[in-house]
């Protein structure tokens, strides 16, 4: 208890917390007004340059300090050993040494990590496909149906819930009572036992638990897919549809040859966006078990290696792998958009 109170010396009662918040707001506001005051002091051609610097400068500076510089440090850190992120920290024995690509080798030599890559592959393939497929299906089914707005909100609502909250919601669905003959109060196991089968420990058994967690991510992301694709479907010009109808196109053909090609770029955007989100999602695995049941994925392993097992070099290497996996998807996305524009 003493340790915690020292660590968090800044936090006090509710009043002082809110006081801190207002202090923060005042400081941020003052910075903003200061920038504007400085900018307004200058006029004319030179003034325009000063104003540009005053307006853009703080953002660029902030990003450079808080994003670019740390990213460079992380890349550097991936080539060092040691228990602490700060290379100068600790005794000479625990201090980090340059080890070349050793941390990257550990990515496949460390027991458990190959499984992490396998699980991540399942996530990054299944989540975008399932979420987009289900979102698209739902968007088409309810398009212009009665109560469309309400129907959409039902699917979309999980987007507003934190992944931690979503994981708790689903842990209850998956809840497994291990005692023999016990009543299953988790919905899925209740159904399974009703059907005469044995209850399943969805969260605790690899490799099945990975799919249980993937379902949670699909549940969250389908709403996003549905919203974007529904907007894209509504943006298809009426005359295209009418023309197709006059040509006698209907049913699945209409979807296959008219709707889908028209929303192709949106589908790609949705797929890639969800893939990126999936690669970075750490909360679900963390809140479910922390990844200790063989269901860890890269984003969660980054946290575990950096903070739990104190291997920041390996953590940094994992962060770089995530970056390397994410960037081509984003570049592809941008190129795709250019092509359509």
């Amino acid at each position: 208890m003493f340790a915690t109170s020292v660590l968090t010396a800044t936090a006090g009662g509710t009043a002082s917390r809110i006081g801190t918040m207002f202090l923060g707001l005042v400081v941020f506001g003052a910075v903003f007004i200061g920038i504007l005051l400085i900018a307004s002091l200058f006029k004319g051609r030179v003034g325009e340059k000063v104003q540009a610097v005053a307006f853009v400068g703080p953002t660029v500076f902030f990003i450079a300090i808080a994003l670019i510089y740390p990213a460079i440090l992380t890349v550097r850190r991936a080539f060092y050993s040691g228990k602490f992120f700060d290379l100068n920290f600790g005794t000479p024995r625990t201090r980090g040494k340059y080890v070349g690509f050793e941390n990257f080798q550990k990515l496949w030599t460390t027991p458990g990590l190959p499984d992490v890559f396998r699980n991540t592959a399942f996530w990054v393939v299944l989540v975008p496909l399932l979420a987009t497929g289900l979102g698209l299906l739902y968007a088409i089914l309810i398009d212009r149906a009665r109560g469309e707005a309400a129907a959409k909100a039902l699917i979309f609502l999980p987007m507003a819930i934190s992944m931690v909250g979503a994981t708790l919601i689903w842990k209850f669905v998956y809840f497994y009572n291990g005692a023999p003959g016990a009543t299953q109060t988790g919905l899925l196991n209740a159904i399974i036992t009703k059907l005469g089968m044995d209850p399943v420990d969805f969260i605790g058994n690899p490799p099945g638990n990975t799919f249980a967690l993937i379902a949670i991510m699909v549940w969250i992301q389908a709403g996003f897919a549905m919203t974007v694709l529904s907007a894209a479907i509504k943006a298809i010009p009426d005359d295209i549809i009418e023309a197709a109808k006059l040509d006698g196109v209907k049913g699945m053909q209409m979807f296959r040859f008219v709707t889908l090609p028209s929303i192709r770029s949106s589908v790609i955007v949705v797929l890639t966006t969800i893939a990126i989100a999936t690669l970075k999602a750490f909360d679900i695995v963390q809140a479910s078990s922390g990844g200790k049941f063989g269901d860890s994925i890269l984003a969660n392993e980054f946290y575990n290696r950096s903070f739990v097992t104190q291997e920041p070099g390996l953590g940094a290497a994992i962060a770089i792998v995530i970056f390397l996996l994410v960037s081509p998807i984003i570049v592809f996305n941008v190129i795709q958009l250019r092509k359509d524009a």
């Binding site: 307006f55 994003l67 299953q184 989100a277 970056f323």
Partner: protein, 321 residues
Amino acid sequence: MSTATPPPVSDQVADEAADVHTDTPKGRRRHKSAAGNAARAVTSPWASAVAIIMAIAWTTPTFGLLVTSFRNQKDIQETGWWQALGSSFTLDNYSQVLSGAQGQPPLTDFIVNSFVIAIPSVFLPLLLASLAAYAFAWIDFPFRNALFVAVFALQIVPLQIALLPLVTMYQQIGIGGTYWSLWLSHSAFALPLAVFLLHNFMKEIPPSLLEAARVDGAGHVRIFFQVLLPLITPALASFGIFQFLWVWNDLLVAITMLGGNAGEGSNAPLTMVLNNISGTLGNRWYLMSAAAFVSIAFPVIVFLSLQRYFVRGLLAGGTKG
């Protein structure tokens, strides 16, 4: 609420989707187009059935936990929530988690924390990004486009790659584990997207408006305040809601910056406590369900009341990770 950045969808699309959610008679009429009729003709009787099944599947998990949060501890252990009808309901679980039970710190503190973390984390990037976006859109200066592309491109940097050095940096300047470290981190991670979004909105404002103000002798500061800010309020709202939900629902930044400390008197947000509870309370669903809904309530209220802005922001590329 952790999606990466989809490139912008055209504004018309954004408007249409936003309209759907307002459900005005006008909006509805506008959408009576051929595409829908055709789509419906595909599957009619099956369509409704499948849609209803999906809607039920998507709602049931949340509904189940919600019902559970109002049930007695004994009932929860003995019967499923679907058998709750007829048994009694209680608010005990909520009063227990809010005031602290089973060795858990009271949740009220963490509700305050979540707000204290989220509000300045929305405020700061909005201020900085609106200035930068204005300059990128309307002031001519050397390397403008290159710089804008660079800022925009930084969206591809995943949080993970910047997190650990930031923790060390904050400790070195003496704000490790404070609210400041969280505000600054959330702001930095939000800036590339915020600049990009607001820039897109500002670009859409007719140049003639700005020209007119310039002819009247207004400088950039005055134009920014008197002409642009009022016009981009919807964009500010869109981004603000996004950032609020994102910060409120964040676990990674909080858990990293605060060193995993979610004990009594800590600066931890609700998500961190919820994450802890998920491990420590194990099967005590009467507490977990109530705690989950305490944390879910605020973003859901924000989402439901401001859905229009939310959808608009989403379609303009307003998601991130």
